[in-house]
Amino acid sequence: MNTSRWKALRTAAALLVLGTAGCTDPTVAPKSTVTGANFFDDPASYQTFLAKIYAGLALSGQAGPAGQPDISGIDEGFSQYLRLYWETEELPTDEAVIAWNDIGLPEMNTQTWTASSAMVVAMYYRIFFQVGMANEFLRQTTDDKLTARGVGSQLRAQIQQYRAEARFLRALSYWHGIDLFGSIPLVTENDAIGATAPKQSTRVDIFNYVVSELNAIKGQLPAPGAATYGRATGPAADMLLAELYLNDSVYTGTANWAGALTAAQAVIGSTYMLDPNYQHLFMADNNTSPEIIFAITQDGVHTQTYGGVTFLVHASVGGSMNARNYGIDGGWYGLRLKPEAYAFFGSGDGRASSFYTSGQSVVVDTIASFSRGIAAPKFTNRTSLGDSGSNRVFVDTDFPVFRLGEAYLIYAEAQLRGGGGSRAQALTYVNLLRERAYGSTSGDITDAELTLPFILAERGRELLWEAHRRTDLIRYGLFTGGAYLWAWKGEDPHGTNSAGIATASTRDLYPLPANELIANPNLTQNPGY
C-alpha cells in the first residue's frame, strides 16, 4: 500500500475532524441591523436613545407622522401619549367634549368608560412604554457597562445628566400612572426584560418612589435655558414635585401642602418669567415663551404626529371657522367647551378671546355635532407675529406641560390650605395672572375673594385644556358624585339626555385594562370595575 497516499488521507481526515471540533458555538451576531450588541459603539447613541424617551411623549412611532408605531393594538394616531393623556384629563370633566364616534372615544366624554375602552387601554400601555424605555436606558448606562465600553470621562458626565433626564421622564409617567390608575406595577431598571409579569405595587409606594427619585436627580438635571429647551431641567423636577405634593392627600391620604408650597416657591425663584402675552403660550412660536418650564415639543417639519398639539389644533377647528386663521389646512370638527367651562369666564377676560361662538351654541345637547358647544381654539398654529407655522398639517406649537403660571396657582392653593407662605404673596401671584388676562388691574380680586373655590375656578380659566382638570376636580372632591353636575356627566354618550347625573366615586380612577389583568395575573382591578 502506498504510504504517502495514506498520509494524505490521514491529513485530510484530520483537518476535517479538527475543523469540526472548533465549532460548537451556534451564536451569530447580527451584522447589518443595529442591536444592543453594537448600538453603543457609537457615542452619539446615548443621546439618540434618550431622545426616544422624549419622543415617546411627542410622537407615536419611529416614522413621522405615522408608521412603525411604539405600541400596537390601536390606531397609531390615537395612540400618541399627549393626545391620550389630554383626553383622559379633559374629556370626562366640565371643560371639554369631543364629537367623534371612534371606538372608545364617546365614553370618555361622560365617565362611562369600561376596562376595555380603547383610550384607557392605550394610555396604560403608553405609560409603561415610557417606563420601559427609561428603564432600558438606565440598564444600558450603568457604570459597569460604561466602563466595559471604555466611555471617556467627558461623555460619562454627559451620560450622568442623561440618566437624570431618563429618571425624570420615568417619574413623570409614573405620576400619570398613579394619578389615572392608582396602584400599578413599579418596574425599575433592576427588573430584567421579559422575565416575569411584574407585581402590583401601591399608589403610596410609587408616590414615595417618584418623590425620592425627583429629589435625587434634581441637582443633576440640566440648567434652564434656550439650549435645554424641551428637556427636563431642575425647575421641571421641582414643578413635578409640586404637582405630587399638591395631590398628596389624594395619592396617599396624607396632605403635604407645605411640600407643595416649597416646591412651587423653588420654581418661582428660578429663572422663568410670566409671558406678557397669554396667547403666546399656545402659539406656533411658544418655544420662545419665557414662561414654559417643560414642554412636549412639536415641529411641522421635524416632529410630525397625528396626536399631540396637531390633534388639539385641528380638533378644535370646525363649523364656520376659517382654518387658515389657525395656520392649518382644515378643521377636524371635534373639540368644544362644555357649557360649564364657557361660564368660567367673565367679560373682559382675555383668556377667552380665542373662543369662537359664531354658529356655535353654548349648550351641548348632542355630543356628535360640532356646532353644539362653544369652540375654543386656544392652541393655534399661528405665531405671535401672525404667521402660519411651518406646515399646515403638522403644527409647530409645543404643549406646555409645566409653566410658571401654574406654579403661582399651586403656591396660592397650598397657602390657602395651610402650607405656610404668605397670603399676601398668594394674592399677588393670583392677581399677576388676572392682570395679564384682563390687560389691566380691572380683574384683580380682593383678599376676601381669595378662596379655595376661587382657586379651582381660576385654574379652570388659566389652565383650560392644559390637561389638569380631572386631577383638580378630584382634589376638590367634585369629579365624581353628585355635588357638582355638568353636562353629560355620567350620561349615555349616544343618548339625548345631557343634564348630568352623579357618578360613582370609583370613577376617580380609571380601570386597569381588561386584557392586562389576563396578561398579568398579579394585578387586582380597581374597585367598581
Binding site: 475543523g19 451569530v28 412611532g61 393594538g73 421579559g194
Partner: protein, 996 residues
C-alpha cells in the same frame, strides 16, 4: 466541546489504524445476476458480501475480491427487484462462483429506503416513510422536482401556482405552523438545504428555488412523514423531511438522450361580462357612464393568453467500472407559460462520480448539480386588468403616447389599465444561478478485525445561489401615470451561500448482543448560511431609454436596500436500532440542535424519538397464513422542531427614525433610536407526533401498502401577542405561545393486478388516501380579545381580510357572514346573524368561521399497464372538503363597480346575484373546491432499433377536472383565495428516449 474532541480523537485514531486490518487471508467471489423471469442479465445490481460489494456489469457479471475467509452470505439487490441472498463459504485464496436471480417486485417492503444519515430496508423501518423511485415518478412536462411525487404519497399535499416552474408549497400531514415556515426540509444527496420553500432563495415567489435540479437527474424522493423518521433532523424536521437522491452511474458506459416537445393551453379563465352584457349593465345601472363606452368588442383574456410551447432535451453519459461510477448529464428545458410573457428556461449540468479505493474500504462520492434558470414573468397588473378592463374598449389608440387605448375620462386613479399596454411595454425577468454539491467519503473499518462493522462518513456540501431580477415599467403607460409613479425600476440581487459539514459513524457490532443485532449511528453536523440582500428601486423615471438596463434621472432619489443575514446550526445526533430476528424492531434517535435563531437561554434543543415495530409475518404462528407475505405493526413517538423563522428575533433591535420623527433638544433636532420589544428566549416551535402504522403485503406481495394513523401536537407556536405592561419594551412581543393539532390517517395500496410477464399484459395500480383534521388550539392563553387574528388579504376594500385564526377552528378558516337567500337567490345586504336573526350588516354579530382551504381528504390513483411494446399509465387525483374564496366574483360581482368614473368589467356572478353593493364577506363566495382531476395520461411505445432501446411517448396533463367550483382553479394556491391566480395549463407532450 470536550466530548466532541473525544469523538474526533477516536475517529482519527480509527482512521489511523484501519490499514492494519487488511492483512488477513481472503478469497474472491464472482458470478452473474439475472432477472429470474426473463433470464436477462441485470446490469447495475449491487452485490455484497459482508461489508464488501460490487455492481454488476452490462452482462450481469460481478467480481468481489478480498472477501474474508469463512461462511457468509452473498446478497444482491436492485431497485424494482426483491433482494436475494445465498450462503457461501470462502476459503482463503480461492474463487467461488455464485449466480443469483432476482424477482421483479413492486413490493415496497423489500426496497432499500434512504433515511436520514443512512439507508434501511423498508421491511425494517419503524417510522412512516414513503419512497418514490424514478420509475414511479409523474411524467410529462415537469419543471419542478416536487411535482414528480405530486399525488404519489399519502398525506403529502403539493400545491403549485400553475406557472411553469412556479413557486410551490408542500404540506406534509397538514400545516403545523402559522407564522414560521410550513415547508418541509429538503436534503439533496445528504446536503440539507436551508429553511423555506424549496430550501433557498429565488427570483420571487413565482418560481420554485428547487428548479435548479433537473428532474431527470433524480433517482428517488423519500418523504419522512412521522417524527420518528424525521427527528434525526431535529429543529428543521417539524414539517417533514424530503430526501432527494440523485442518479449515479451504473452498468456499461452508455449515452442516453431524452427529449420532448409540448404545447399547453388554458383550461379555464375567469368568467367576465362580454361587451354587449357590459354595455347593458352600464346602461341599466349607471347610464351616466354610457358616453364613456366605445364600440369595440374586446376579450382581454383572449389577448393575453396563448398556446404555449415547450421543449426539453437531456443528454446523459454514464457508466461504471469495477471500482468507480460516473454520470454526466446536460439538460435544457424551455417552457412558455399560457400567459404571454411567461417563460421558464433552464440549462442544467449534473456531475456524479464515485470511486472505491483501498480494497473498497473507502468510498468517495462527489455530486455536483448546477443550473442557470432564466425566468420571464407576465408583468404584474396584466391579469387583474384583463378582468377589470371594459370589453367595449379598443386595444389601440393611435393618438395616445404609447399607442394603446385607455379610459379617456374620469378619475384615472381608479380606472383599469389596458393589460396589453402593460404586457407589451413592461418587463419582468430574472436569472438565477444555483449549485448544490457535496463530496462524501465513507470509510469501512471492517478490515481491521476489532472494528468490524464500523463505518465513518464525512460529508462536505455547499449550496450557492445568485439571483438577479429586474422589473421595469415605463413612465408613459397608464398603469404608471395614473397614480404619479411615472415609471418604475426595481432590481434585486440576493445571493446566498450555505455550507454544510457532517461527520458520522455507523457501527453494526458483528456479534449479536442479546437476542438481536444493533445498528448504532452517531455524528455531528455544522451548517452555516450567509445571505446578502441588495436591491434598488426607483420611481418617477425621467426617461424610458434605458428600459431594464439602468436607472436614468429620477424625480425622487432611488432607494437602495442592502442587508446581510447569517445563521448557523450546529448539531449532534445519534440513533440506535435493535433488531431481533427481523421480527422485533426498535429504534431510538436523538438530535441536539444549537441554532443562531434561538435565544441565549434556549440555545440548544433536544429532539428525541422512539419507535418499535413487530413483523408479525415473521412469527412462527404466521407460517400457516401463506397468503400474508408481510405484516408489520409499528408505533412511534417523536419530538421535532421548526426554526423556519427570521434571524435575530432574540435581539432587541434599535430602530432609527425618519426625518419627520425627530425631537427637539434646545435648537437641535435629534433622531431618536428605539429598542424593540424582544423575547430573548425565543426558540423553536415544537411538535410531538404519535404514529401507529401497519405495513402489509398479501399474495406474495401482489397487494401491499401501509395504513397510518397520526396525531401531531405543536406548541410554542410563534405569535406576536400582548404582554404584561412593564415586562418588555412595548405592549406586544413576538414569542412562543400558541398550540395547534393535526390528526389524520393515511392509506397506501399498491397492486400488481396482472402479471403477464414479458410479452404479456401486466397492470399495476396504486391508490392512496389521506385525511387530516387541523385545529388551532390556542393563540394566546393570556388574552381574551386577541384570540381572533384576521388574516387572508383579498382584493376589494382596503384592509379586507377573509380568514381567521381562531382557537377551536382549522387554521385560516374563512371568516364570513351567512348570506340570506330567497327563492334560491342571495338577498342583497341581508345576512343570517349568529343569533339566527336577519341582519342588515356583516359585522361581529354575524361573522363566523366557515370551512377552510385545506383538503380534508386527498385521494390519488395511479395505473400503469404494459403489453408487449406498449405502455399506458394515468393518474387521478381528488381533493374533498377544501374551500375556495372566489375573489374575482366577490370583487367584481356588484353593479356598484360600474359607478366608478371609469367602470370596471364585472364577473358573470353578478348575473346570478344581482348584487348592487359589494358583499366581500358573504359566504356566497366561499365555494367548495372539491374536485376530481385526471392529472396525467401517458402512452409509450418501446422498441429496439439497430440494437438500441428506443421509447416514444405522448402524454397529456390536467386532462380534465370535475368540480363544482366556478372560478379559475380549485387548487388555487394554498390559502384558498382565488384572486387573479395564474390559470392552469393543459399540456400535451410527446417525446422520445434513446439509449446508445
Amino acid at each position: 466541546m470536550k466530548r466532541l474532541r473525544y469523538v474526533s480523537g477516536a475517529l482519527l485514531a480509527l482512521l489511523w489504524m484501519a490499514p492494519l486490518g487488511a492483512q488477513q487471508r481472503t478469497g474472491t467471489i464472482r458470478g452473474r445476476v439475472s432477472d429470474d423471469a426473463t433470464r436477462q442479465p441485470l446490469s447495475g445490481a449491487a452485490v455484497s458480501v459482508g461489508s464488501r460489494g460490487a455492481l454488476t456489469q452490462a452482462d450481469g457479471r460481478y467480481v468481489i475480491t478480498g472477501v474474508p475467509a469463512g461462511t457468509d452470505s452473498v446478497r444482491a439487490r436492485m431497485i424494482g427487484y426483491a433482494p436475494a441472498a445465498q450462503a457461501v463459504t470462502v476459503v482463503g485464496g480461492d474463487t467461488v462462483v455464485v449466480d443469483l436471480a432476482l424477482a421483479a417486485r413492486a413490493v415496497r417492503l423489500s426496497e432499500v429506503v434512504v433515511v436520514g444519515y443512512g439507508e434501511q430496508r423498508a421491511g425494517n423501518i419503524t417510522g412512516a416513510v414513503t419512497q418514490v423511485s424514478s420509475k414511479d415518478f409523474n411524467t410529462g412536462t415537469i419543471v419542478s422536482p416536487q411535482l414528480l411525487i405530486e399525488n404519489k404519497v399519502a398525506g403529502v399535499q403539493v400545491v403549485d401556482n400553475n406557472e411553469p416552474g412556479g413557486g410551490l408549497s408542500i404540506r406534509v400531514r397538514g400545516q403545523a405552523s402559522v407564522n414560521a415556515g410550513s415547508e418541509p426540509l429538503y436534503v439533496v444527496d445528504g446536503v440539507p438545504l436551508g429553511t423555506g420553500s424549496g430550501g433557498g432563495i429565488s427570483t420571487g415567489r413565482e418560481r420554485d428555488p428547487l428548479n435548479f435540479l433537473n428532474p431527470g437527474d433524480i433517482e428517488s424522493i423519500t418523504v419522512l412523514k412521522d417524527a420518528s423518521a424525521a427527528a434525526i433532523y431535529g429543529a428543521n424536521a417539524s414539517n417533514g423531511v424530503v430526501l432527494i437522491t440523485t442518479k449515479s452511474g451504473l452498468g456499461r458506459p452508455r449515452v442516453e438522450y431524452s427529449g420532448s416537445v409540448s404545447a399547453a393551453s388554458v383550461t379555464r379563465l375567469p368568467s367576465m361580462l362580454n361587451a354587449a352584457q357590459f354595455r347593458d349593465a352600464v346602461h341599466t345601472y349607471f347610464p351616466k357612464n354610457d358616453s364613456l363606452l366605445l364600440n369595440a368588442n374586446t376579450n382581454w383574456f383572449d389577448l393575453v393568453d396563448r398556446t404555449a410551447m415547450g421543449q426539453r432535451h437531456d443528454v446523459v453519459l454514464s457508466g461504471a467500472g469495477t471500482t468507480n461510477g460516473y454520470r454526466l448529464s446536460l439538460g435544457y428545458s424551455n417552457q412558455d407559460g399560457i400567459l404571454q410573457g411567461t417563460t421558464a428556461e433552464r440549462i442544467s449540468l449534473g456531475v456524479s462520480y464515485n470511486q472505491r479505493l483501498y480494497n473498497d474500504h473507502l468510498d468517495l462520492r462527489a455530486n455536483l448539480k448546477g443550473s442557470r434558470t432564466f425566468d420571464r414573468f407576465t408583468p404584474n397588473g396584466v391579469l387583474y386588468n384583463a378582468a377589470q378592463m371594459g370589453p367595449t374598449q379598443p386595444v389601440y389608440d393611435s393618438t395616445s403616447a404609447t399607442g394603446y387605448a385607455n379610459w379617456a375620462a374620469g378619475n384615472p386613479l381608479t380606472s383599469a389599465d389596458n393589460p396589453l399596454e402593460i404586457l407589451n411595454l413592461a418587463t419582468d425577468h430574472g436569472t438565477t444561478y444555483r449549485s448544490v454539491g457535496n463530496v462524501q467519503a465513507k470509510y469501512d473499518f471492517s478490515s481491521f478485525q476489532p472494528l468490524r462493522g464500523l463505518t465513518g462518513t464525512v460529508n462536505l456540501g455547499y449550496d450557492v445561489t445568485d439571483v438577479n431580477r429586474v422589473t421595469f415599467y415605463p413612465n408613459n403607460i397608464h398603469f404608471e401615470t395614473k397614480n404619479g409613479t411615472d415609471g418604475s425600476f426595481y432590481r434585486t440581487t440576493p445571493s446566498q451561500v450555505n455550507t454544510v459539514l457532517e461527520t458520522y459513524l455507523d457501527y453494526r457490532p458483528p456479534l449479536d448482543l442479546g437476542p438481536g443485532t444493533f445498528d448504532l449511528t452517531g455524528g455531528y453536523s455544522y451548517s452555516r448560511s450567509h445571505a446578502e440582500w441588495s436591491s434598488i428601486s426607483a420611481v418617477q423615471l425621467e426617461s424610458n431609454l434605458l428600459a431594464d438596463n439602468g436607472i436614468p434621472q429620477t424625480g425622487i432619489p432611488p432607494v437602495p436596500v442592502d442587508t446581510v443575514t447569517e445563521s448557523k446550526l450546529i448539531s449532534f445526533f445519534g440513533r440506535a436500532e435493535y433488531n431481533i430476528g427481523d421480527r422485533y424492531l426498535a429504534s431510538f434517535s436523538i438530535r441536539r440542535d444549537g441554532s443562531s435563531r434561538f435565544g441565549p437561554g434556549n440555545l440548544w434543543g433536544n429532539f428525541p424519538a422512539v419507535s418499535v415495530g413487530w413483523r408479525i409475518s415473521r412469527e412462527p404462528f404466521m407460517s400457516g397464513a401463506s397468503a400474508i407475505s408481510d405484516l408489520k405493526l409499528r408505533a412511534s413517538w417523536g419530538k421535532t422542531g421548526n426554526q423556519a423563522f427570521g434571524d435575530y428575533l432574540q435581539f432587541s433591535t434599535y430602530q432609527g427614525c425618519n426625518a419627520k420623527a425627530q425631537v427637539q433638544f434646545g435648537s437641535q433636532f435629534v433622531c431618536p433610536f428605539r429598542p424593540s420589544a424582544v423575547d430573548p428566549n425565543i426558540r423553536w416551535e415544537s411538535t410531538g407526533t404519535w404514529d401507529v402504522g401497519l405495513d402489509y403485503g398479501v399474495l406474495s406481495g401482489r397487494f401491499s401498502g401501509a395504513i397510518d394513523w397520526y396525531t401531531k401536537h405543536t406548541d410554542n407556536l410563534i405569535f406576536t401577542v400582548p404582554v404584561a405592561a412593564g415586562s418588555n419594551l412595548s405592549n406586544y412581543v413576538t414569542t412562543n405561545i400558541g398550540t395547534m393539532k393535526n390528526t389524520g390517517f393515511e392509506l397506501d395500496l399498491s397492486a400488481r393486478l396482472l402479471d403477464g410477464g414479458p410479452g404479456g399484459l401486466s397492470w399495476t395500480a396504486g391508490f392512496n388516501a389521506a385525511h387530516n383534521t387541523n385545529e388551532l388550539l390556542s393563540i394566546n392563553p393570556n388574552a381574551v380579545a386577541a384570540s381572533q387574528i384576521l388574516v387572508g388579504d383579498v382584493a376589494g376594500g382596503v384592509g379586507t381580510k377573509i380568514q381567521v385564526l381562531e382557537p377551536g377552528q382549522p387554521i385560516n378558516s374563512f371568516f364570513v357572514c351567512q348570506q340570506q337567500y330567497q327563492n334560491g337567490k342571495p338577498v342583497e345586504g341581508k345576512y343570517v346573524s349568529l343569533a339566527d336573526t336577519i341582519a342588515s350588516a356583516c359585522d361581529a354579530a354575524s361573522l363566523r368561521a366557515y370551512h377552510d382551504p385545506a383538503p380534508h381528504w386527498m385521494l390519488g390513483f395511479s395505473s400503469s399497464m404494459a403489453y408487449r411494446h406498449f405502455d399506458l399509465s394515468f393518474t387521478l387525483r381528488a381533493w374533498l372538503g377544501n374551500y375556495v374564496y372566489n375573489n374575482i366574483a366577490s370583487n367584481l360581482g356588484d353593479y356598484q363597480e360600474l359607478t366608478r368614473s371609469a367602470p370596471y368589467n364585472l364577473s358573470t356572478s353578478v348575473l346570478q346575484t344581482g348584487f348592487v353593493q359589494p358583499h366581500y364577506l358573504s359566504d356566497y363566495y366561499v365555494e367548495s373546491g372539491s374536485f376530481l382531476r385526471m392529472d396525467n395520461v401517458t402512452v409509450g411505445y418501446t422498441f429496439p432499433w439497430e440494437g438500441r432501446q428506443v421509447r416514444l411517448f405522448a402524454s397529456a396533463q390536467s386532462v380534465f377536472t370535475i368540480t363544482g367550483y366556478s372560478g379559475v382553479d380549485p387548487t388555487a394556491g394554498l390559502n384558498g383565495i382565488d384572486n387573479n391566480i395564474y390559470p392552469r395549463s393543459r399540456i400535451l407532450t410527446s417525446g422520445l428516449n434513446v439509449q446508445f
